[in-house]
Structures are given as C-alpha cells and as structure tokens.
C-alpha cells in the first residue's frame, strides 16, 4: 500500500543534505568576506608603505636639491644621518635621520618633524655622499619602510627598501 502523507516533512537525509549545502554556502561566503577584508588590509599596508616612501623621498630630494652644501657625511663617506647646509640660515643645519622608527627632518633649531607616520616603521637609513670633486654635491639615500605589524599576521608584513639620489643645484 502506498503511504501517503500530504504534510510530508523532511527526511533526515534531506535535512543533512540541506545542512551540507547551507554550510558549504556559508563557508564560501565567510571565506569570501574574510578574503575581502584581508585583501583590503593588505592593500592598505602596501599603499601606506609605498605612498609614505614616495612622499618622504620627494621631500628629502627637494631639500637636498635646494641645499648649499653637504656637511655630513663628508665626501666619499657613508653615514646614518644627513646634515645639510641650506641657503636659509634660519633652517641651518637641516638634519635628516631615523629615530624611533620614523624618518625625521630637523630644520634649524626647531624640533624634528616626522616624514613618516606611525603606520610605517623606517629603518636602515644609509646616506652616502657621492660628490665628485669640484661639483656641487650629490647624495644617495637608502632606507627601509615596513608596515607596522598591527596584528602580527605575516600576510600583513610588507617591507621595501627605497633608493633616492639628489644632486645639489646650488653652486
């Protein structure tokens, strides 16, 4: 005899099947959302490092180009601090260095101004005075910027070494 039930419910198999489908979907959505967030964060980190570096390089090369002379390091030497003799006496000396993870510029007797924010950590500033004799001077700078590890997640680590050079225009 045929068993009939107009209000037929789910069989256990169906429930299991639907649960499986639903959880698969949910898992997919979750992965998708987390990837979106992760990607967003990573993009933010990359953008931070690159754009802060670009801005810092722009500022530093600008200052070097407008300087009168390079005080430290001396010609042919390499150091971790750049000291410039600039045209405006009030801004003499202009010093560029790294302190507490920030690239800093100190113009004259004022307090240093940070060129990078706390979203990045600057390190390994190396300044080379590559001036040839009888030329106005040229400086080569390398430094490393690393995104501040907010979460400690390795995927959000982003570190780059940047290079910049500028020749003095003052003569």
């Amino acid at each position: 005899m045929r068993y009939q039930n107009p209000q037929s419910g789910f069989t256990l198999l169906e429930v299991l099947l639907y649960s499986l489908i639903a959880s698969t979907l949910l898992a997919g959505v979750t992965v998708f959302v987390s990837m979106t967030l992760e990607g967003n964060a990573r993009q933010r980190v990359i953008t931070d490092v690159e754009s802060e570096a670009a801005a810092a390089i722009e500022r530093i090369t600008q200052v070097i180009r407008n300087a009168e002379g390079i005080t430290t390091p001396v010609i042919g030497a390499t150091g971790t601090t750049l000291v410039l003799d600039v045209v405006d006496n009030a801004l003499d000396p202009t010093t560029i260095d790294v302190s507490s993870g920030a690239l800093r510029i100190d113009e004259g007797s004022g307090s240093p101004e940070a060129l990078t924010s706390n979203r990045v950590i600057a390190s390994n500033l190396v300044v080379s005075n590559l001036t040839r004799g009888a030329s106005p001077g040229t400086v080569h700078i390398t430094f490393t910027l690393e995104a501040s590890a907010l979460t400690g997640r390795s995927t959000l680590n982003y570190s780059q070494t940047f290079y910049a050079s500028a020749s003095l225009r003052y003569d």
Partner: protein, 762 residues
C-alpha cells in the same frame, strides 16, 4: 504542489554565487596587484631619477666626465666615493638600469635613463626618464677687461672737461691720456705745457681725486685754454677676477712736483700688496699731469719718471734740462696687476739716439726676463735732459725688444730718440699675460705733413677690450711744439689710427695694438681651506683663554685664507651644533699658511668647561671643515675667607643691662670650604669713654676673656665656620652699659684677610 529545489537549480545558484564572488575577488586581487605595480613603478622611478641625478653630478664635476654616446651602467664606487659609469647596465634589487647618452652637440648631451624589472615571470615593466645636460660652466668669453677709447676732438676748450662714459665706471680702472692742444698763437709754435691734461675727478673720489658729476663721468683739468684740446682718453676697467686675471686700482695720488723740483716722493693712502705687480700709471702720457707753466721755452714740466718703492711710495724725477721747472701736478694711479700677470719694470737710460730711430744703436735698452712679444705690452714714463717734446726731448720711442728686431720673444726693452743724442731716463713697465694679444708695428720716419696715420694690425675680435698706444720720436726744432704729441686708438678691428694736433716734422713711431679680449676669468676657487688640526687652548684666568692654531691656506694648506670663525660652547662642538655655538668676534685676519695664529677670548664664565672649534673661509667663500675641538676649564674664582664671611648686624641689640651686644650672626657663604676667624679687633666710641670689653662668646663658646679699653685686639680661640653655615656671635660683653655707642668689628681670618664692619649701633 510544492516542490523543493531540483539539484540543477541548486547547482545553478551556487554557480551564480561563485561567478559573483569570483568577480569580487578578482577585483580585489587586481586592485592589490595594481598597488604592487604602482609601488614597484614608484621605486623604479626613484632609481631612474637617481640615475639622472648621478649623471648630473658627474656632469657638474666636469662636462668632460660624460662619456661618448652609448649605453652605460652606473656604480657608486666605494673606493672612489662617487658615481662613475661602469659596464652597460646596473642592477639594484630586481631593477635593471641603463643610461643612454646621445650627443646633441659638443656641449649638449641627451641622457635617457631606463629602468626595467620583471613584475612577474615573463611580465616586464619599465620606466624611462630623459634629461638634457649642457656644459653650462663653459666660460662664454666672459670679459675681464673693458677698454673704451674716447676720441676728444672738440668740446674741451676751457680748463676743465667732463668725459661722459658709455657706461658706469668700475672701481678698478685706469686712464691713459694721449693728445695735445696746439697751444700758442702760432698754430702750435709754443710749448704744450699748460695744455697738458690730468684726471682730477672720478665717480668714487678715489684717493686724491674729487668726486665727479655722475657714476659715468670723469673730470679732467688743464691750466691753459688757448685752443681746444684734441686727443684720445683711454679708459681701462677690470670687470671680474681682478686679483688674478685683471688688475686692482689701489689708490690715486695727485703728486705735486714743486717749483724747480727735480725729484721727490709721495705716498698712497692705500698701498699695494706686491710691488712686483705694480704699475704707476701717471704723468703726461699716463693718467695726466697739469701745470700752470706758460713759457714757450720749457716743455717738459710734466715729463716725470715714476717708480714705486716700499709698500706705498711713489718716487718721481724730472730733468730741468738747463731751464727752470715750474710746479706741476701729476695724477698717479697705483695699479696692481693680478697674479696671472707677469710684470717687470726696468730703467732704460743712456744717450743713444739717431735719425729715423731704425737702428739698434739708436735705442737705450735694458734687460728683462724673456717674454713672448705677442703677449706683452709696455708703457714707459720718464724724461730726457733737454727741452722736451719738439726738441726730441720727450719724444721717446718705447718698445719691446732692442728697437728693431721683432722676434717672438724679447729679452730687453728699448727707449730711443729721433735725431738728438740727448740722455734718456725712462722707467719701462712690461706687462705679460698668456692670453694677451699684442701687435707691435714700427712706423718709419717721414710723413712730416700728416696729422693722421693709419696702421694696419692684426684683426681684433672684441671692440670693447682693445687699446692702441703710440710712442713716437720727432724731428725737433725749437718751434715744433706740440707736433710730436700723437694719440692712437682703434679706428676699426684692424686699423689703429694715430692723430696729432698740428702737422709738421718727420716722425718714426712704435705702435702697440693691445687686445685684452681673450683674457678670461679663472674658474672659481672651489677648494676650501684645510681644517685646522692643532687648535689649542691656554687658560689665562677666570674668564679668559688664549687660543692658538696654525693658519691653513686659501686652498687646502697653501695660500692665505680670508677669515676665521672661532666658536665656543659648553658642549662638544660638531658640525651639527656648530650653528648653536657662540661666535667669537674679532678673530685675526688669516696669515699665510703655516703661520702661528693666536687670539685671546674674554668674557667666559669662571670654572666652566668650554669647547672651542674654528673654521676658515676663503674669498669665495669656501668654508673649511671643523677643526679639532679642544676643551678647557676656566679658572674658578677663589675668594678670600673674609670675602666669604657675611656679618649680619641688622638684629644687633643690647641685653644684660645694656652691657651685652647680641644678635650678630656670622655666615660662611663658601659652599665647599670652611673659614676660620682668628682675631676680632673691636673698637667703639661714645660716652662714657672708660668702658672696657670683657668677654666674647661665639656659637656657645667663650672665645676671649679680657679687660681692655678701645681698641681691643681680641686674639680669640679660633672659630671655624663650616661651609654654608651661619653661627651666632652670641655676645660681646662690656663692663659698662654700651647704650648709644658705635661699635666697629674687624675680623681677621686664618688666611690673613680681614673684614671690617663699622657703624654698628645696637
């Protein structure tokens, strides 16, 4: 009937969701990818612009450092310490840089810096920067000299004349006056003396000159004005680099040649630094001379020989030639030629002479060090022992060589006379410069009827840096004046035009076409003085130190620098805090390299550690590096014990029936050492007079016991007051009331110092 999803529907839904999710994800990934590419591109740009900057610096050192057209790599050589080209490319991290140089012209090159990198395997990216570099430091014929020859032929009719220059006058200049007035009613039959012209004012009022009408005016004076003066006034100016390639005008003196005087000296207010480089441009054929002499028999009042001695002395002589000499006034300019010039001065004297001045034997010569003829010009100043011009007196031909030969080098100068065998006494100045171009031309005797003569010379390129000079003889008779006075200037680029005021008399001449246009300023000095390494301090007191060091040079350790900058600070001085260190004023002017320098510094704080450092600048100024940084402590101020003792009598009072003086305190203000009172001399005044001092107690101890009338020298038990301590002078006890007396206390300390406190009225 309700149906559930078919498997197909479910799969379809999942697939749709998957497609949408994939879209989102790929957008994200692509965006991230974009950031990475942008970052890489930014770094590549930095590396490319570094290449541009490196090439620029290589160019700045010297344009010739740039290699021939081609593709190169760059390397910051750690040994050389600067950028050089190496290979055909260079690699930084994953970025490969090539520098491509293309010649546009001999002084212009295009620089293309390309940086390429592999973003992912097989996907290459690149950025390219282009710049054009020029040899902008190449000197483009910058002129050191500006020479302007002004022809005066009308307008100078009175006794004064203002020459309006084409441009403002430079402060380093000199003037050469050539020409004459055809003085006398006979159309030039009488002497030219009173028509000689002298420079008497310039825009600056240099030395003895007056201040002229404007910054482009020179004022001239003569004493007679029978006829208009005609001639050429040559103005030679130094524009740049006057201490090396040009010349400096130190001072101008108006030298008075007193009536009947035949020799004398005068001095410049501002002397020269090297007498061997000095030209005294003066006299009638130099910067001029004027005299009130009107006699038609004397024509040589202004014929003076000029030569320098010492550091600022002008020596002059003239010859009376058998006739009296009236007063004359020479304008003498102290011109010191730059270091690039070789200047010689010799005296050519003798009585050689002869018609035509075309034989060696007709010249009086003097030996000089060999000079190239084409790079040397000469100027002579002197006199003869006869009546002067017209009598062939001053008509002396001065030239380089023996008077005839015109070889490429010359080892003598010559002063010859046409016709008469009068004695010549000439000082000849010989000026040589490697870039000078001088063309010597001999004009043979003859042309008695002419007033104008054109000599063809080498073509001169720059009409604003050339001058012509003429020295001539003259067939003289007693009525020839002023026919031998010729004036020369360039008529065009290869023609020197000589003119005279009156015609008559044969004349030979030596003509110089002097071209300064190839003389260019030396490249700027880029060598800083060497850093001083032996700065030393000697403490000379509580607020003074003596600083000693050895002078560096202008360039490294050679030459003489211009200024010192000595600074001190209480912190070690580095280049970083150099600006914050205290500047000392009144540093000595640097001596030549190697000299010992010394300076006293005052107004320092006692007992304080000071660091000193010094830097030296040259004339550019290039500033030297920092010296060594010695330190020393000023002497502490040492006070006597009495000076540390403070006696407070403000609370002095009487007790014990007014017999005890109390309330006085003794304080030792020394913060580190104790002081000891050995003796107190007590004196007092007032009625009654027979009272006696009985006891003294200090800080709880009886220190003296006695029975004395004033004054009392109380040799007390020593009282030692520790550092920074106040004790009580408990009481001075008298035998009677001391009401309304005046008390004086003198404290004698263990070091012998004393302190007197008088007028205590308890």
């Amino acid at each position: 009937m309700e149906r559930g999803f078919s498997l197909l529907e479910v799969l379809l839904a999942v697939a749709l969701f998957g497609v949408v999710a994939l879209l989102f994800l790929s957008t994200l990934t692509l965006g991230q990818e974009g950031s990475l590419v942008a970052g890489e591109r930014a770094r590549a740009l930095a590396i490319a612009s570094e290449g541009i900057e490196a090439v620029r610096n290589i160019r700045d050192a010297s344009f010739s450092n740039l290699p021939a057209a081609g593709t190169y790599g760059l390397v910051a050589s750690s040994t050389a310490g600067y950028w050089t080209f190496l290979g055909t490319s260079d690699t930084t991290d994953d970025y490969t840089r090539t520098v491509t140089i293309t010649d546009i012209s001999s002084t212009i090159k295009d620089i293309v810096v390309a940086v390429s990198w592999d973003h992912t395997l097989g996907r290459s990216e690149d950025v390219t920067l282009t710049t054009r570099l020029t040899d902008w430091r190449r000197a483009i014929n910058e002129q050191v000299f500006r020479v302007t020859e002004y022809v005066v032929s009308g307008g100078f009719n009175g006794t004064t004349y203002t020459l309006n220059l084409d441009q403002d006058l430079e402060s380093d200049y000199f003037v050469i006056v050539q020409g004459a007035d055809g003085n006398g009613s006979g159309g030039g039959n009488t002497g030219p003396d009173e028509s000689y012209v002298a420079l008497t004012s310039d825009p600056f009022g240099t030395g003895d000159l007056n201040v002229s009408a404007s910054s482009s005016a020179l004022g001239f004076t003569r004493n007679g004005n029978v006829n208009g003066w005609q001639g050429v006034i040559t103005v030679v100016e130094c524009l740049v680099d006057c201490t090396q390639s040009g010349f400096q005008l130190h001072d101008v003196a108006r030298v008075t040649h007193l009536n009947a005087g035949t020799s004398g000296t005068d001095t410049f207010d501002t002397g020269w630094t090297d007498i061997n480089q000095v030209l005294l441009m003066g006299g009638f054929n130099g910067s001029g001379c004027n005299t009130p002499q009107t006699s038609n028999n004397n024509y040589k009042v202004c014929h003076v020989r000029l030569y320098p001695s010492s550091t600022s002395t002008i020596n002059w002589s003239r010859d009376n030639g058998g006739a009296s000499l009236s007063t004359a006034y020479s304008t003498v300019m102290a011109v010191e030629w730059g270091s690039e010039w070789d200047v010689q001065r010799v005296n050519a004297s003798g009585n050689n002479g002869g018609n035509g001045a075309d034989q060696v034997g007709e010249y009086n010569t003097a030996v000089i060090s060999s000079v190239p003829r084409s790079e040397t010009w000469v100027w002579g100043t002197g006199h003869t022992n006869d009546n002067g011009i017209g009598d062939a007196g001053e008509a002396v031909l001065v030239t380089l060589g023996d008077g005839v030969a015109t070889g490429t080098t010359a080892t003598r100068v010559a002063a010859g006379i046409e016709y008469n065998n009068n004695a010549v006494n000439f000082d000849v100045y010989v000026m040589s410069h490697a870039d000078l171009a001088v063309d010597y031309r001999f004009k043979p005797d003859g042309d008695s009827g002419s007033t104008q003569y054109d000599a063809t010379t080498n073509t001169v390129g720059n009409s604003s840096a050339r001058m012509a000079l003429i020295t001539n003889g003259s067939n003289g008779t007693g009525t020839a004046y002023p026919r031998p006075l010729w004036a020369a200037r360039y008529a065009d680029d290869d023609t020197i035009r000589a003119t005279r005021r009156r015609s008559g008399q044969d004349w030979p001449a030596w003509i110089q076409g002097i071209d300064f246009s190839s003389i260019e300023p030396l490249p700027p000095d880029t060598t800083a003085p060497a850093a001083i390494t032996d700065l030393a301090l000697t403490v000379t007191g509580t607020s003074t130190m003596t600083v000693n060091w050895t002078a560096p040079g202008d360039d490294g350790t050679t030459g003489t620098a211009i200024s010192y900058d000595l600074r001190y600070s209480t912190a070690p001085i580095t280049l970083v805090n150099w600006g914050a260190a205290t500047e000392v004023t009144g540093e000595p002017t640097p001596s030549a390299a190697g000299a010992n320098e010394s300076m006293n510094v005052a107004d320092l704080t006692p007992n304080t550690l000071y660091y000193f450092a010094i830097r030296t600048s040259d004339e550019v100024p290039n500033e030297s590096g920092l010296s060594n940084v010695p330190s020393a402590t000023t002497d502490p101020i040492i006070l006597t014990e009495a000076e540390y003792l403070v006696v407070d009598t403000s609370a002095a009072d009487l007790t014990g029936g007014n017999r005890d003086v109390v309330g006085i305190t003794l304080q030792n203000t020394d913060t580190s050492g104790s002081i000891t009172i050995e003796e107190i001399i007590v004196s007092w005044s007032g009625v009654p007079s027979n009272r006696r001092l009985f006891r003294i107690e200090i800080d709880g101890s009886l220190v003296w016991l006695g029975f004395n009338t004033s004054p009392v020298t109380a040799n007390i038990t020593d009282v030692t007051i520790p550092a920074n301590t106040t004790i009580d002078l408990d009481f001075l006890e008298f035998t009677n009331s001391v009401n309304n007396i005046t008390l004086n206390l003198e404290f004698v300390m263990s070091d012998g110092s004393t302190k007197l406190i008088s007028g205590i009225q308890p």
